[in-house]
Symmetry: C2
Subunit: 219 residues, 2 copies
Amino acid sequence: MKPTITKSYLYEHVARIGKAISSPKRLELIELLAQGEKTVETLAEQARIDMRLASAHLRALREARLVETRREGKFIHYRLSGPDVAQLWVNVREVAEEHLVELRVALDQMAASPDSLSSESRQSLLTKARSGDIVVIDVRPEAEYTAGHLPFARSLPLAELEKRLADLPAGKEIVAYCRGPFCLMSDEAVKLLRQRGYNAHKITDGVSEWRAGGLPIEN
Amino acid sequence: MKPTITKSYLYEHVARIGKAISSPKRLELIELLAQGEKTVETLAEQARIDMRLASAHLRALREARLVETRREGKFIHYRLSGPDVAQLWVNVREVAEEHLVELRVALDQMAASPDSLSSESRQSLLTKARSGDIVVIDVRPEAEYTAGHLPFARSLPLAELEKRLADLPAGKEIVAYCRGPFCLMSDEAVKLLRQRGYNAHKITDGVSEWRAGGLPIEN
DNA sequence: ATTACAATCTAACGATTCTTGGATTGTTTG
DNA sequence: CAAACAATCCAAGAATCGTTAGATTGTAAT
């Protein structure tokens, strides 16, 4: 017997997507997955939650078809089911930033520099990076850099930054980025670099924001 | 005493937006409000729910700052707090259509013609409408037309279509639209028009989809 | 003042959801 | 085959949500 198709049936399906993104933990997992494919263990570790809880949330995301899986030996790799999912995360976050004052003040209190990029400044950053005028560093874990990064950026994970300071040219302006506006790794990188006398600052863009701005991602 | 700002605090705020759009009824209310400001009574009637339930859902939407209110005498008018909210609705719905097969088959079964518009066909529609090659009719209630409509469209509410058939030029191609892909008013209009011998078809765009496609809205 | 009516509020029930603990599945390695 | 380990499944309690009914607020008209 064929199920009766009512109009509310349509909204129910869209609400499945809404439900999937209605939990803070799941949003964090989506943001992490926007950096590239990851195993459940990695996700649990990076989101600082129990692996069983991570698994449960990932199940919910999979049932909403926002993520897909791939098995490799003992490991199961999760990935977003499409670039539109990362775009949705950026969209929802921007709406939240626009309308929820509490979120804006919290962001101001946390981040050292709330340098949001306009599309013109993204373009000029790209030009300066291409010409070698500035050095763009990606301070995320190397695996995330490999999965995709800003054009002309070099990988310099926060954990190795102190050891690898020699890799950086002395006089040049340094621009650091990480996973996006909620990620504080670039702030820490900037703090450390400034202590060592570098001219460093951060941008809030991650790869998803950069792509959402219409600019290309390398890998 | 200042509240401790943790990272998860940020995701919690974004999740407030997610929670707001995690209910089918609230999504329907958002879609209705995307057509223009409406009173609680109108919303309840058009969503076919009890006014008290509508009020409760609107409260949730207001607490997530997705809607705002304005009092006028006995009536309270609700509106979306910004065009980005309508854009979010379109975005979420598109992600759902992309990844949820059940939604796609339901849409195919319901709608007579699943004519989704590419950006080129939007442009060519606009040109043909401007030149008078085709007649674009807005079959939504007149108040929604007044709040904003497609360029060169004329208002011809479904309820009055039969009476006002004389308003339509005989030979010309007629394109009907309503509130968007989930709205069936344009299907009914097309059905009626074809019975009377008109060359009519529908497009799935509503004003939100049209605007999301980067094209202008008149009022 | 009294009445009418739009809208909200309060209380309460059942249905979900979140989270944790323990048990289980599936794969690799010795 | 047994041990190790990634990941999922299952069960259960606490918390939250959706819905309905009845009571209440606020404004306009008589």
